[in-house]
């Protein structure tokens, strides 16, 4: 199985650690990169030598530039339009979910507190996204709330 590139944008150290450990235990041959705020994220994505990830996990509440702002900027940038974005947030408010999906997020994930739940959620998000990615399915209607 080929390597799957994942990028995580989250300012919370514990959350990043938790995320990384869960990912490692999935045994999916994943390489994870991370950035700690929205400004770093956009800079990273816009570097010419950056290998675009197969899926970006994006936290909503980050310093300097929030998740929604980043999402909008990504969708306005020509070569980032097709990038799969999964919002990774503590909010489960209907309003937040809708706002993210309307602004072009593909997946909305409510951050769970249970480690095993996190593992199964990440597995679902990554495998389904991979299906769109590798089968040439259009991402136009790719919306999912987990």
């Amino acid at each position: 199985m080929k390597n799957i590139n994942i990028l995580l944008a989250d300012d919370d150290d514990d959350d990043r650690l938790f995320f990384g450990e869960a990912l490692e235990q999935l045994e999916l041959n994943i390489s994870l990169n991370w950035v700690v705020n929205g400004v770093d994220l956009i800079n990273y994505l816009k570097q010419p030598d950056t290998q675009l990830p197969e899926l970006l996990f994006l936290d909503l509440n980050m310093p300097l530039k929030g998740g929604i702002e980043c999402l909008i900027e990504i969708r306005k940038t020509n070569y980032l339009r097709n990038l799969s974005v999964a919002i990774y947030s503590t909010s489960s408010a209907e309003k937040d979910i809708e706002e993210c999906l309307i602004h072009g997020a593909n997946i909305y994930i409510k951050k769970p507190s249970d480690f095993n739940v996190l593992k199964s959620i990440l597995h679902k998000a990554i495998t389904i996204n991979h299906q769109y990615h590798s089968s040439g399915l259009s991402k136009e209607n790719f919306l999912m709330v987990i």
Partner: protein
Amino acid sequence: MKLVLGYQIHILARKIVEKELGKIGINYKYHNSSQIELLEEIPCSLLHKLKNNLKEYGIHIKETQREQFIQKIKEAVAEIIYCDEYYTYKTSSLISDKLNLSYGYIANAFSEHTLNTLENYIILQKIERAKVMILSNEYTLTEIAYKLNYSSVGHLSNQFKKTTGLTSTSFIKIVKQRNNFLTKAYNNPGS
């Protein structure tokens, strides 16, 4: 004046392959002139482009038997999902009939070589088609359920909710607003 040309085929092959892979902008490792390892997943569309570009030089990408088999399974699934007729057999036995192999064997091969189970793949493909039909506004949910061979509208609605996390009503509502936003974003990239 006549020129007599001599070729070093392996150098020629390497230059061409490197040039074409460079155009696509993909990380790779050149093992030898008949084997190149791509170091990352590439979308189908890019692979297709690479295939076509190399074809001009008479170079073709050989698919492994395994890939051909997975492709055949996917085609069989698509045929069943897009046939539009209500059938009384289970999808699993239809696939098994089409490929003339046991479903267990097919399903195992599929999940071993993709990240998904065949069952999930079929559900995802069905829901994708349901989404397109729902958004087209041409069909009622009952018609869609019938075309996709669900036993009832309830069954379709449940599977839709389970797969997408959304009801079909909120899906329609969100997609409409999302398309508005995306169209504006594409047309005014700077703002």
